[in-house]
Symmetry: C2
Subunit: 190 residues, 2 copies
């Protein structure tokens, strides 16, 4: 376990930082000068299967969304409720001409730990100096998963439709089989 | 064609801007105070099939990477060579304990137009005010595809291995079938 995370986090002695980005001065109506704490890549899916490479176990969902998630240095438990509310409540999915959140679809959620998303490209090398340490990352990931489960379980529509939250292990190599329509990829940062 | 892009870009009258992010002042060793012009989400794949929803045509690749790409307002042709060089030259892939670029694998490249990645979450709504206009976006996408094709074709290793660049249409709804190991997702911004 964790071999992938460790293999990718072997540059932490470097002082190079994540690339940063700004929007132009004239449109800075919503500037928040706070550091990046978490990043999620979300994709609509028709069917997704996730298998732990160290195991024969696998989990699957049908219609819903796949959430790849990572945490940056300085992330705390405080951001989890906001992340869960934002991601599960975001009207990202185009269905029958209407935009709906995964809770409104109703749909299931597949959560994939993906620390590589903290990487920044420096020349031809990916650097991961902004990744949270593994112990804290694992705690935040577990908390994110359990709060997503709670949120879906509190939605009558989701419960009645049999929508579920499934997830892979933290920080391990996994195989994903994804069938996605759209695929409506979104990058959401916290 | 383009119905998805248009459906997602119906908030352009809003003056709300993309969320922005900074890194902390004390680690600002590589700050580039320039706006975001393009974003790519990259995933390693074992096999990917992409099908245009308006068509029965489909394309596929075996081992390599899937690149979801979008362009922001202000993006110009000038960024394309840098994007191609960075993405195809980035040592993102863990194989046999070594990190390799897709050119070194050697592997194929599947390019997916994904304007939704310009979106920013405002409350429960995704806003796409920073998307490039469709005509310019289509030109940049075509240029990105052709320069990736040229780059792969100039790699003897890739040519000998039969590595290819495949892509879907610009701005249209598509279905992707992905089998990914890792999946080593990266977000790379330009």
């Amino acid at each position: 376990m964790k071999e992938i995370r460790e293999a990718f986090l072997d540059h932490t002695d470097s002082c190079t930082v994540l690339s940063s980005q700004t929007v132009e001065e004239d449109v800075l109506v919503d500037w928040k000068s706070k550091p990046l704490r978490a990043r999620a890549v979300v994709q609509q899916c028709e069917h997704a299967i996730l298998q732990d490479r160290d195991d024969i176990d696998w989990v699957q969902i049908n219609v819903g969304m796949v959430v790849y998630v990572c945490f940056f240095k300085g992330a705390t438990e405080a951001i989890i409720p906001k992340m869960v509310k934002s991601l599960l409540g975001a009207k990202m999915f185009q269905t029958d001409g209407e935009k709906r959140s995964v809770l409104e679809l109703p749909g299931s959620v597949m959560i994939v730990s993906q620390d590589t998303m903290t990487g920044a490209l420096r020349g031809s090398r990916m650097q991961y100096v902004q990744s949270i340490d593994a112990r804290r990352g694992e705690q935040l990931y577990a908390s994110f998963v359990s709060q997503c489960e709670r949120e879906l379980a509190s939605s009558k529509k989701c419960v009645e439709a049999g929508a579920v939250v499934k997830h892979g292990p933290y920080g391990n190599n996994q195989t994903i089989y994804l069938n996605s329509n759209g695929p409506f990829t979104h990058v959401v940062e916290f």
